[in-house]
């Protein structure tokens, strides 16, 4: 390990963000970086556990966190990079946007602040790029087998990368104009700059992965074509079907799904033209965000940057405790109130609020009618359910309401329908251990099969399914 008593000597240090006044003026990344010496000190806090929970329990990718920390502390950056890339194809993404499950299960976190694992990961991968250690590694030998990956989000990229490295000929189909999926379009640029995505796509292209963008399978390309040209297909279309809110007044203009709003902003930043009528612009408006999760938080930051007059974020669940809730003991991912950079930029968060109706004028939203709820035990087991508190109704004026209440499934998919792939009761494709659907040779990975989750889990699933594909094609 790096330093035996490091964890007793040093405190955790987070890099913090750019000043609020400054960062609200643009969409550039808000998070600062630790200096190299600070990183070494943070790495020294790692205790190199005999049973590293970060690696064995927290990180879905099983990054070898203790060895990374040790290597960094000892200045073995190159080795750290090689080790990191062994388990993780794209550390530059998660190092910026991952909630860092590893840190949630860090042993030091039982009694102290966990090691800043994400920051160290960021330092390693960026050091790699800075030093020019990262360049394309096309596979040594090519196989004849061809694999199509449909979707270019984290799962798709991970699957494509792995299969390409194994020598398969990989084509990635993406219906948006640029590859990256949620990385490019879903996550706000102030959290993940898009040049980071571009950098990776460029590397992958250099390594031989072919990207076909603006193509929707089933519409632009026939299923038969796909099935004929490829030995295997991996579907990684995500789970972007948002949860809707069917309350009176839902049809008013000004009520949008959060993801539509976030995607649009990213497209604008990419220089795409958005028809005026379709633009969702929060400038000078009151915005109500329904949903207290990460997507909601991203909406909040975006609206603030657009110059909203006021932003409100409502959550139906109760406010989480400020420290780890006893319901999620270590090493589980702790339930606690997390304030993102966006939350620190303004807006107002409220909990235990349900939306009863939208009221508008001339078809445009003007008010959101809400009420307070309390959570009562359902009697059986541990569950509880919300109950409206009589007389707690209130009204907030709003011109924009953003629905950020999660996702319910992959939505309609022409390809899936055309192939008649079996679905489960929730609308997700059934798959076997290798990730293969009911249709031989067709695999599915990422949110599309697991349901909406974290980028890191999507990557992990992409890697696993790629192994399944190889296994299948090796037979």
């Amino acid at each position: 390990m790096g330093k035996e008593t490091g964890f007793l000597e040093y405190k955790r240090k987070d890099p913090g963000y750019r000043p609020k006044e400054d960062r609200l003026k643009d969409f550039h990344p808000v998070e600062l970086r630790l200096t190299e010496s600070e990183i070494l000190e943070q790495a020294a806090r790692c205790m190199d556990c005999g049973v590293p929970f970060c690696h064995g329990c927290g990180c879905p990718l099983s990054n070898v966190v203790p060895e990374l920390n040790e290597a960094v502390y000892q200045g073995r950056w190159r080795e750290a990079l090689d080790l990191l890339l062994q388990t993780h194809p794209f550390p530059e993404f998660t190092a910026r946007i991952c909630p860092a499950l590893c840190e949630g299960s860090c042993v030091l976190g039982i009694h102290d602040q966990p090691v800043s694992i994400r920051q160290i990961e960021l330092a390693i991968i960026e050091k790699g790029f800075e030093q020019g250690w990262i360049h394309a590694h096309p596979p040594i030998c090519r196989r004849k087998d061809r694999v199509a990956v449909v979707g270019s989000g984290p799962a798709g990229l991970a699957a494509a990368h792995t299969l390409n490295q194994k020598g398969f000929q990989v084509v990635v189909y993406e219906n948006a104009s640029k590859p990256g999926g949620i990385l490019r379009y879903g996550i706000p640029a102030f959290k993940l700059e898009k040049r980071i995505v571009d950098r990776r796509i460029a590397l992958m292209k250099e390594e031989g992965v072919v990207f076909e963008t603006g193509v929707e399978i089933g519409r632009d390309l026939s299923t038969r074509y796909l099935m004929g040209r490829f030995d295997s297909v991996v579907l990684t279309g995500g789970a972007r079907q948002p949860r809707d809110l069917s309350v009176p007044g839902r049809e008013q203009r000004g009520i949008h799904f959060a993801m539509d709003y976030l995607v649009q902003q990213n497209r604008i930043l990419e220089g795409e033209e958005i028809p005026k009528g379709a633009r969702i612009d929060a400038h000078g408006k009151i915005v109500v965000i329904l949903g207290g999760g990460d997507t909601g938080s991203d909406c909040l930051g975006t609206a603030m940057r657009q110059g909203a007059k006021q932003v409100l974020q409502f959550e139906i669940l109760p406010e989480p405790p400020l420290t780890r809730s006893p319901s999620t003991p270590w090493p589980e991912w702790p339930l606690l109130r997390r304030d993102s950079s966006s939350h620190k930029e303004g807006g107002e968060r409220r909990w235990c609020i349900m939306t009863e109706s939208f009221v508008g004028k001339d078809g445009s939203l003007e008010e959101v009618h809400c009420a307070k709820v309390e959570w009562v035990s359902t009697g059986k087991g541990l569950g509880s359910s919300p109950r409206k508190i009589p007389g707690s109704e209130f009204v907030v004026p709003a011109q924009i309401a953003l629905l950020a209440m999660g996702f319910v499934g992959p939505g309609r998919n022409l390809l899936v329908e055309a192939l008649g792939i079996e679905l489960d009761s929730r609308g997700y494709m059934r798959r076997d251990e290798r990730g293969m659907t009911s249709q031989t040779g067709i695999f599915v990975a990422g949110d599309m099969s697991t349901g909406a989750s974290l980028v890191v889990r999507a990557i992990k699933d992409g890697l696993d399914v790629a192994a399944g594909v190889k296994d299948y094609l090796d037979e």
């Binding site: 205790m47 049973v51 929970f53 690696h55 064995g56 490295q165 003991p329």
Partner: protein
């Protein structure tokens, strides 16, 4: 035959024995019957050193060896029926023959025929009159017919020629009766000689004269006699295993037996002897097949003596003293030892040997001197030598000398010259018999540049990773093994046991080394301290061993001498380049066709063996097996397999000694690897890839301390050497020369084809993989290395053996299991608990443990409510021994409270206990540990500590590091720990590897007796670690009256220890427990003791299986720590435990969050789970369930490819006809009622109650052992450690006191002894005062004569001792507070002492002050070379310059004079000013520092921290 054959896991091969041994002689050579009677008397007085079997009257064996009683036979001539030739012209035998007349007749005919064939005339037989009535029932059943054949010499034969012929006759007859023996009949020649005869049998000492009626006849006369009383661990003692043998009686154990057998066997083919001529071939094999170690030693001695070497010369050749540079000796003697070291490897192990050829009789002690050996010489020319003094009443005014053999010393009585030779004379004569020194100097081959500093290796980077992968290197090998070794020169340390799968259950390709486990000494045989007692050890080795050992020529010394067995690349090159015609070198490649099958591997090995054979025949002297730069089409053969295959092949061909086998291997890197390769026959090793890897790490600057390549490599070599010493020492082996080929390993998971063919003689009890699988694993590594997709990768596989890695080796403790267990026990959540056990127990897909492959047979279940309640089951649970010091006070007390609430037992661990904890808390909770451990360090083991226990546990070994000691570094010894351990804060506390009062099986009986006397209410348990043979050791311990025996698995253990020990020493408890159960049931000893097991027990299923295999109680340590918050950091040794469990850091201790309730929850849920298994299996009580191994079977649904070969039938072996109970049903008979203390108590009890002074006088004898302990315990119970006022109880004794005189004596007791005493005086002295002075009528100079034995004041904590005379080895060992004055000590004085004051008014032996970290010794140094005798690693020697010191010293001497009247003390005091300068103050450096007496400059010197173990 009575010796049972292999049954289940029981194998008679693993029996041990020890005993009492002695000889008597009349220097004038005048035979007398009185001497016979005295010999019998000696034997009887050694009775307590023997043992008795289950039928309570069958002894383990006893016997006498004396001169042929010619007068007696002459007197019998009427009944003989033939004419008896004159004395010396005939030989007489003592032969055990079959009861069955037909078989007996055949045996007799064979002997008669053979004698005639060899040109002798057979005179006739005499039936030896015996009285079977005195025998025990078992001995009676096995009793042979005992006859004496008389064979007359041929014309012109000298007596020596006759002796040789009789030897030939015996060997031939033995061979010719093989068939008869195979059929189960006995044919055993106890002796056949014209000079000596042996009367022995399966007897107790007192039965000997009653059984052999001859012995009462006054015509039976002899001038010498050797006697022996046997104590065997086995349960099926046999007539023929009784001693003495034909030439010797041996008290000890040969640890290197397998190596010695291999060595003798390989020399046989080339054996030549002028004296024997062609007859020599009739003697083969020299060593009797399947005989005991002592019998083999006798065979070897017989050969050497018969072939012309003198008795003393032969004996020294077999059991040489240590002759390293620390021993003062002249060049001639050193030359003698070096010459013979090249000729014969030592027969290594503790040994006191009495030997005779009928003309001379002598005794010798091995280099470690771990057996007592005392002798007395009278003015009338009579000498008696025995394991104890007081075995014979001698008129004290006729005693001329009282002596003891020191380590490595010999005495010899020459009856022809009427001369008693002492060690000095014997050895000087031998050293100058021939110009050995010159022979060695002139013939030794020196190679220019050999052993210069190692040249830096330049790694070949292009292929480094590929080669590392080829040999299975992992990142852990680099970071956790090689880097620490190269950085610090030491083996890396870890903690918290081992929870990964056994090699045979792992899916990762395993190196063959991982299928072997190190063996270690326990109970029958002490481990050695390779650090503090390094001087007795040696890694020196020769290349080019001569094989004609019966001759003595200069060319035998033509050898290449290596300081250690690791060859640098240049060394190897130089050997290859040697331009000597008789030292040519042959290279053989270790590779088999890539992707080849087991068959291909086998063929390759065959070829390799044949080519090796050819190389020897072509007169090559070196064979280099190499896997360097193998071509791409070859996979490396596992080096161990190749080495052992070739070694064994050459032994079989009788060629092994003609060649030295060097190994050039990329595979070997760890200490375990090197140890195995040497243990299976390699002569020296060049681990080139390890060198290269170390060099690479150094070049990249990746070592903890930046250093150059050369230094890193030196460090690596140093670490390997130290590790090797450690591996050898834990088996009690001192020299590499005898360790080589000794095969002290057990295989776990190799099938018998592989073992019998390539590793013959190695235990392997559950079968396992074969060559096919070995080849497959080697090919896996090959594939990994050659895999295209790995090309260019700089990252090795992770390993994951030592730390959890998702892509590495699997572990039972994972984030999942840890967090589930913690949550379940915190909340008392049964659902979570069940989930936890499911994760642990479900090994149907992936296996970790042997029990993972077990399955319960289907039986009729019973309703759960019929099963005994949780409250009674939890009483069978105990927690493991974890000392306060290794874990925090908070953790320690939490566990104790929980166990006391449940009615189970917690264990104090080794480190004493705060007396505050003996009192209950206000809420009624008790923090008192029910089990008090007595470990080798004896920290805080006082009378008070002992009386506050329900169980006293003697820790012989611990799972994490069996056979090793421990150390608590000074910086961890804070005020609290120091107080509890009776130590000084800041002073390092060392636990020696062995208990210094347990060197043998009879010693443990003694310690058990000591403890029982001190606390008769407590049960005494003995903790052993599972290894092959543990069952027989346990049987011996049961005979030594232990109430409970704990069998620990190798994988348990929370303590810090070297990684190689955690992973590679010992075997799983499933094997050890079932072996113990089976052996005990078979021996009918099971009913007397309880059995307990521990080692990675985690769930109710584990408990159920342990119970079925024989355990009645169950221990948990790691699991309980996890319940208390441990997250398996495995950093306990670093004091940085982040959850406050295993740390003394006050900040971290605050983080401890465990509660007694959690521990209670755990055990309650566990007991509930056990109940469900009981219901399932149909048992109402656990008692019914104990030992029902018939309900287990192998889970054949498991299909993992390596598992297929496993066979657990021997584990499940169940003797339906067993005549003994399968569980503990009765109590041991400790015989405490015979203790002298009961007599004493009658007269002092009133005084204990009132505090009034009392004085008692009584005689004492050596059979009165542990005198004073019971009285002391009464005081401690009533008054605690502070005891009574000084001199309240005065006890005066006269005579030779038995062992452990005044053990644990409390304050207020004063014990006077006039006479002499044996070992362990003042053991654990707790405040009492002991005065020993010689018999008043004695005419010997007290300061020159032995008055007390070895290991006095072991673990004494306070009190005073005055001894007027010399004492044996290890005086005041681990003393932590007593004051003592003595007039001379043996070797290793004041070893491991941590406190107190010792004054020595005479000379000391070597290695004084080794491991001495505290206290002060003042030594009167008349010679001025005392510093030569010291181990200066930890001590400074100073003038006694401080006034305070002078006063202290003077007062102590004054008191000594006052109590004993010592003339020597008087003389010194009378000339105080002149004598004072002769005193040297021995001042431990650490102690000095703590006392603030080190100068600032001195303190600033950076000392390398003492070796951390």
């Amino acid at each position: 035959m009575s010796v049972k054959s292999v049954q289940g896991l029981y194998n008679p091969r693993y029996e041990h024995d020890a005993c009492g041994v002695g000889f008597l002689a009349n220097l004038h050579g005048e035979p007398s019957h009185a001497l016979i009677e005295q010999g019998i008397e000696v034997l009887k007085n050694l009775s307590h050193r023997g043992a008795i079997g289950a039928d309570m009257n069958t002894g383990d064996g006893a016997g006498l060896l004396f001169q042929v009683p010619h007068r007696f036979f002459t007197s019998q001539s009427d009944s003989l029926g033939f004419q008896l030739p004159p004395a010396g012209r005939y030989g007489v035998g003592m032969i055990f023959l079959p009861q069955a007349s037909e078989a007996r007749r055949r045996c007799m005919e064979i002997l008669e025929g053979t004698a005639k064939e060899e040109g002798l005339s057979f005179l006739g037989w005499r039936e030896v009159p015996v009285d079977s009535g005195v025998l025990g029932s078992q001995a009676q059943r096995e009793q042979p017919i005992i006859l004496q054949p008389f064979i007359s010499a041929a014309e012109g034969m000298t007596q020596d020629m006759l002796e040789r012929k009789l030897y030939v006759v015996r060997k031939l007859t033995e061979k010719r009766t093989d068939r008869i023996r195979e059929q189960g009949d006995i044919f055993y020649v106890a002796s056949l000689s014209s000079r000596t005869i042996v009367y022995k049998g399966l007897l107790t000492a007192s039965q000997v004269p009653g059984f052999y009626l001859d012995l009462a006849d006054s015509e039976i006369q002899s001038a010498l006699m050797v006697v022996h009383q046997r104590y065997s661990t086995n349960t099926f003692p046999s007539w023929s295993l009784a001693q003495p043998f034909r030439y010797l009686a041996h008290n000890g154990e040969i640890n290197t037996l397998r190596g010695n057998i291999n060595g003798m066997r390989s020399r046989e083919r080339n054996m030549e002897s002028e004296l024997f001529g062609l007859d020599i071939h009739k003697l083969l094999p020299i060593l009797e097949e399947g005989a005991s170690d002592s019998a083999c030693l006798d065979n070897a001695l017989e050969l050497l003596v018969s072939a012309g070497r003198t008795l003393d010369h032969s004996m020294i050749m077999l059991v040489p003293q240590a002759w390293g540079s620390k021993y003062p000796m002249g060049p001639d003697l050193r030359g003698f030892f070096e010459y013979h070291a090249g000729l014969m490897e030592p027969w290594d192990g503790p040994a006191a040997v009495a030997f005779t050829d009928g003309l001379r009789v002598g005794a010798l002690l091995d280099r470690n001197g771990l057996r007592p050996a005392r002798y007395t010489v009278t003015t009338e020319g009579f000498i008696v030598f025995a394991s104890e003094v007081g075995v014979l009443d001698l008129p004290q005014d006729k005693v001329e000398e009282r002596g003891a053999l020191r380590p490595g010393q010999m005495i010899l009585v020459d009856l022809e010259r009427h001369h008693l030779m002492r060690d000095f004379e014997i050895k000087t004569r031998l050293a100058r018999r021939k110009p050995y020194r010159r022979w060695v100097e002139e013939n030794r081959i020196s190679i220019h540049g050999f052993f210069n500093a190692m040249a830096p290796v330049e790694p070949v980077l292009e292929t480094l990773i590929l080669r590392q992968r080829l040999f299975g290197y992992t990142r852990e090998d680099l970071r956790m093994i090689l880097s620490p070794m190269a950085s610090s020169g030491r083996e890396p340390t870890g903690s918290m046991g081992s929870d990964q799968p056994l090699a045979v259950l792992s899916e990762k390709p395993q190196l063959l080394y991982w299928y072997f486990k190190q063996m270690f000494a326990q109970v029958t045989n002490p481990a050695i301290d390779p650090i503090r007692e390094e001087l007795v050890m040696s890694l020196m080795t020769f290349l080019g061993t001569p094989d004609k050992i019966l001759s003595e020529v200069p060319s035998h010394a033509r050898l290449l001498k290596l300081r250690h067995p690791l060859l640098s690349n240049e060394d190897l090159q130089r050997i290859r380049d040697l331009k000597l015609e008789d030292f040519r070198c042959k290279n053989l490649v270790m590779g088999f066709p890539a992707h080849g099958s087991g068959r291909d591997l086998e063929d390759t090995l065959d070829r390799l063996c044949r080519r090796a054979e050819a190389a020897v025949i072509q007169n090559h002297r070196f064979l280099v097996l190499t896997d360097k730069d193998l071509p791409e089409h070859l996979t490396p053969i596992p080096a161990l397999l190749a080495v052992s295959a070739v070694h064994q092949h050459l032994i079989r061909k009788g060629l092994r000694t003609r060649i030295s086998m060097l190994l050039e291997s990329g595979e070997a890197r760890e200490v375990m690897h090197i140890a195995l390769l040497l243990g299976f026959g390699a002569s020296a090793i060049n681990p080139y890839l390890a060198f290269e890897t170390v060099a690479h790490l150094a070049l990249k600057g990746e070592l903890e301390v930046p250093m150059g390549v050369a230094r890193a490599m030196e460090n690596y070599v140093k670490a390997v050497c130290q590790g090797l010493l450690k591996v050898m020492s834990k088996m009690g082996i001192s020299t590499l020369r005898s360790y080589r080929s000794a095969q002290v390993f057990e295989a776990v998971g190799l099938n018998s084809d592989v073992v019998s063919r390539y590793f013959p003689g190695t235990a392997s009890r559950i079968e396992g993989i074969g060559l096919e699988e070995i080849a497959r694993e080697a090919n896996c590594r090959y594939d990994d290395a050659r895999d295209e997709s790995n090309r260019g990768s700089t990252i090795l596989p992770c390993g994951g053996q030592y730390k959890l890695r998702q892509d590495g080796e699997r572990h039972l403790w994972t984030p999942k299991t840890i967090s589930l267990l913690q949550r379940a026990t915190r909340e008392g959540d049964r659902t979570l608990y069940r989930e936890y056990t499911r994760w642990i127990d479900d090994q149907s897909r992936k296996q970790f443990t042997l029990r993972g492959l077990f399955r319960f047979k289907k039986t009729a279940r019973i309703p759960l409510e019929d099963v005994e309640p949780v409250s009674s089951i939890v009483k069978r649970f105990v927690t493991g021994a974890m000392s306060f010091g290794s874990i925090s006070r908070e953790a320690h007390e939490t566990i104790a409270i929980a166990m006391n609430r449940l009615g189970g037992m917690s264990n104090s661990g080794e480190g004493g206990e705060d007396p505050e904890r003996y009192l209950p808390l206000p809420n009624g909770d008790s923090r008192c540990s029910a089990i008090k451990q007595v470990a080798s360090g004896r920290f805080g083991v006082t009378a008070e500590y002992l009386v506050h226990a329900k169980e006293l546990q003697i820790k012989i070994a611990q799972g994490a590091k069996p056979g090793e000691g421990g150390q608590l570094p000074g910086h961890k010894v804070n005020a609290e720990i120091a107080r509890v351990r009776n130590a000084t804060p800041g002073v390092t506390l060392i636990s020696p590897p062995p208990h210094h009062d347990i060197y043998s099986i009879e010693d443990i009986a003694q310690l058990i007796y000591d403890l029982k006397n001190t606390n008769p209410k407590a049960r005494v348990s003995v903790k052993l670690v599972s290894q092959v043979g543990v069952g027989t050791v346990a049987a011996g311990v049961a005979k030594g009256h232990a109430d409970m025996i704990l069998i620990s698995g190798y994988d348990g253990g929370t303590g810090a220890s070297p990684l190689s020990s955690i992973k590679h020493a010992g075997v799983p408890w499933e094997l050890g427990l079932s072996e113990t159960q089976q052996t005990m049931v078979l021996n009918k000893l099971r009913s007397r003791v309880r059995l307990q097991t521990d080692g990675q027990l985690k769930t109710g299923r584990d408990v159920a299986i342990a119970c079925l295999l024989g355990a009645e109680e169950f221990g948990f340590a790691t699991t309980v720590l996890v319940v208390c918050g441990c997250v398996m950091m495995r950093k306990c040794h670093k004091n940085t435990c982040p959850v406050g469990v295993a740390t003394q850091d006050p900040t971290l201790r605050k983080r401890f969050s465990g509660k007694p309730e959690y521990v209670e929850n755990f055990f309650v849920m566990l007991a509930e789970e056990v109940r469900t298994y009981m219901a399932e299996l149909g048992f109402r009580t656990l008692d019914e369930m104990v030992g029902r191994s018939d309900l287990l079977e192998m889970n054949d649904a498991i299909e993992f490819w390596k598992v297929r070969g496993l066979d657990f039938r021997r584990i499940f072996y169940f003797d339906e006809m067993a005549q003994d109970s399968r569980r503990n049903t009765t109590n041991q008979k400790h015989g405490l009622e015979h203790a002298l203390d009961h007599e004493i108590l009658k007269r002092v009890q009133g005084s204990i109650d009132t505090g009034n002074k009392v004085m008692v006088e009584m005689p004492i004898r050596n059979i009165h052992r542990t005198v004073g302990a019971l009285v002391s315990s009464r005081i401690a119970e009533k008054y605690g450690h502070k005891g009574l006022p000084e001199d309240t109880i005065t006890l005066r004794f006269r005579g030779a006191a038995g062992q452990s005189f005044a053990a644990f004596a409390s304050k207020g007791m004063t014990l006077y002894l006039e006479g002499e005493t044996n070992d362990y005086l003042g053991k654990g002295l707790s405040g009492g005062k002991i005065i020993v002075s010689p018999y008043r009528q004695s005419r010997c100079d007290p300061s020159e004569n032995m008055i007390a034995g070895n290991v006095l004041l072991y673990g004494a904590t306070c009190g005073e001792v005055y001894i007027q005379g010399r004492v044996g080895e290890r005086f005041a060992i681990r003393n932590s507070g007593a004051q003592a004055v003595v007039e001379g000590v043996g070797d290793h004085g004041c070893e491991y002492m941590t406190g107190g004051r010792v004054v020595i008014l005479g000379s000391t032996g070597v290695n004084f002050g080794a491991g001495m970290s505290g206290g002060i010794a003042y030594v009167y140094d008349e010679t001025g070379i005392f510093d030569n005798q010291c181990n200066l690693d930890m001590i400074d020697l100073e003038w006694v310059s401080e006034k305070a010191d002078q006063i202290e010293l003077r007062q102590m001497i004054e008191r000594h004079e006052g109590y004993t009247g010592s003339p020597k003390a008087g003389k010194i005091l009378a000339h105080w000013v002149d004598e004072l300068p002769r005193f040297v103050k021995v001042f431990p450096m650490e102690y000095k520092k703590v006392l603030g007496q080190m100068t600032r400059e001195d303190e600033a010197t950076r000392r390398e921290e003492m070796v951390n173990d």
